[in-house]
Symmetry: C2
Subunit: 475 residues, 2 copies
Amino acid sequence: MEKDNKKITSREKDFAKWYTDVVRAAKLADYSSVKGCIVIEPNGYAIWERMQEILDREFKKLGHVNCQMPLLIPENLLRKESDLVEGFAPEVAWVTEGGQKRLEERLCIRPTSETLFCDYYSQHIKSHRDLPKLYNQWCNVLRWEKETRPFLRSREFLWQEGHTIHETREEAEKETNQMMDVYYRFHHDILAIPSIKGKKTEKEKFAGAEYTLTNEDLMYNGVALQMGTSHYFGQNFTKAYNVKYTTKENKEDYPYQTSWGITTRMIGALIMVHSDDYGLVLPPKIAPKQVVIIPIGNDEEVEKISTNMKNNLIKEGIIAYIDDTDKSPGYKFAESEVNGIPIRIEIGKRDLEQQKIVLVRRDTREKIEVEKDIDMGKYIKELLETIQKDMYERAKKRRDELTFEAHNLEEVENIMNTQPGFVKAMWCGSEECEMKMKEIKGTKSRCIVEENAIDTKCVVCEKEAKHLVVWGIQY
Amino acid sequence: MEKDNKKITSREKDFAKWYTDVVRAAKLADYSSVKGCIVIEPNGYAIWERMQEILDREFKKLGHVNCQMPLLIPENLLRKESDLVEGFAPEVAWVTEGGQKRLEERLCIRPTSETLFCDYYSQHIKSHRDLPKLYNQWCNVLRWEKETRPFLRSREFLWQEGHTIHETREEAEKETNQMMDVYYRFHHDILAIPSIKGKKTEKEKFAGAEYTLTNEDLMYNGVALQMGTSHYFGQNFTKAYNVKYTTKENKEDYPYQTSWGITTRMIGALIMVHSDDYGLVLPPKIAPKQVVIIPIGNDEEVEKISTNMKNNLIKEGIIAYIDDTDKSPGYKFAESEVNGIPIRIEIGKRDLEQQKIVLVRRDTREKIEVEKDIDMGKYIKELLETIQKDMYERAKKRRDELTFEAHNLEEVENIMNTQPGFVKAMWCGSEECEMKMKEIKGTKSRCIVEENAIDTKCVVCEKEAKHLVVWGIQY
């Protein structure tokens, strides 16, 4: 096989460079002429489409419906909820001219759409009969980040934002938890990423939320990534936007709100958790193409067997295709490897004569010889499941290896200076102590977890601890 | 049945008012706080999702892949193709501030993405081996229109834009025609709209295109709507953006380009072609919900039959659901009518005792009594097909009734002043004559059609005619 690894830097040598090399080599995204914005190329977008398909089905099963709010928000509307303004104003982009005229009021490009949903609710929710509303939208948003990296942090990104509104606190909190669980299961079952779930601290919660639930993922290099958050707003926004309804008891009240979102950042996480020096590695359940069949040489039998096998696999619900381009087999092998196709099937005349077929697992790069006449549909189906499971276990093992406990600041420093990872440590609940932790290489609280206490004292101030917190250095 | 027609103005009395009444009553869209931008509500968005699903499958079958270009275009990039700038500059919105700073260069929100694709091509297309590229993206675009109407013309709208690039003129022209045919079939087979296809005149073609193919639809009131255009660019853009490749003969050349798009305007056309004074009417093939089952009264047998029927219909591939909300049956009937559900099935105890079930067709509002024990899956499947066919035939009949021939300006004036519609008339090919036609109530050339000449002279100047043109008053 040609070792056409498309000049991918070694992951151990330079993780950041390795990451962008994989993004480029697998043709997932490219930089654009607009600073901080990327082009999501077909290989990258296909992963996003697969994510959308799976999540959208889940959302709809739970009664959510899709809609579409405008891209632009008038300045006065954005300014109605003070926490949100404070949180987002520094990073919005403003439209000030349209149709060759200066606008009377600036319009910002949505950084998130709570304001627009509230504005809509205020027109349409009058009675308890109008509740709940379970909305979601798939769209682009824009946040004027200073430092950007493809998928992980870019000025424009794609996401879904769910927005729901309910009669009672209980119902809204149930929704917040339910959607957290959807994201959590998606991480574990589909992305093969063993996320930790928990609650953000006051300092780290979403601007305007009462609390924020989050999934925290650990990348291969021990850096943390927040992915998929679910916010409970209580009545904060409904009061600010004057969304009132008549209750069953014929009283006036403000309804309770949630929002939850997950972004194209997931593609970045897939790279940083699973991929290697040979390019992209994708868990089968999220791979847009699961199996590539590569016929070797021009031979009628090879062609016939390839076609039959493809049809056979597709019938089993496997996303299989034949690479029948005029590239050399070696080139095709390398390409399927760098692109992260979970299984490659090589069909060659010589092998067939010996009654065998060669398969290659992308995750382990292991060659497997199988008898030509086995039930390939069943075999590949099971192999895909094995790969999915193995990838999850490997990611979990890595996460566990890089998850440490600390009981004082010295221990935290030691960990973060040697091999960063998740640090479990007790916390008193004060922002002051969070700020102290940040002095250690930017270590931030990732989330408060509901696990048994590992100490009685705060890792920083040594006063009484309230929470077990997972800390990490964030992307 | 309660006549809860939600205050829809009569179509005959005030077509424009009727249109917005239907949009609101069927909860398809609402105005937003941003002037000229709409909220696409779940009922409207579900239609768009259905359109996306059907078209996306078609595009992919033909080898297209989806990607995503940035939302923003730097001013200097937009200015590289002079026709495009001239065409779009008056109607773009400019971002001038981001992250609390004035930007060094204005960024426009994409009105269309030819420039971004060309910029990308210029980086990635080097050799004939890189061709063709068959890209598409589903996204939002913005055009700063002065007068707006929900779906028909709004500042922000959703669309897909296909962008392809090829080695030869022939290949690119074939693509332009092929995609025109996809849109044409979608109109006729799915939307039940008997569009006319043809070529835009020089004056009306897309800014920067060599030529534009178009579908022209006739609304119930005789006004024309352009929907689904396919452009052949030749080398116009590749030259302007310096996209060069090495040919098989090892020479340098500019590749050939196309683009094609269709928008949420289609939802507006569905209303204006098919709907009536009772609300929305949807062709079954595009309806997000095809059959609603309404159980009448709390009865175990009613419930059991409803559930069985739903499962039975779903098994047949029919999108059926039970309305088991606590609204009154009358309210449910009215709601399913205004929302345009193609078939309503009423399941009542009294009917069941008489061994029958009542169905109501939305398009004709006809009540049909069927035996309780017929093969409902088969029956409904056929009825949906009949409705689809009948709706197409009715729309075609209306279009034919409102399609006239004219041989001189007086005849054109008579038609447009009495009952506007499509006017077929010969044309010499001069822009001057197009401008003359425009003086008659804004009559514009819709498209040049390939049909037999109906006269030898131009309808305006009476000089030798070159083309048979369909003219109309446009939305």
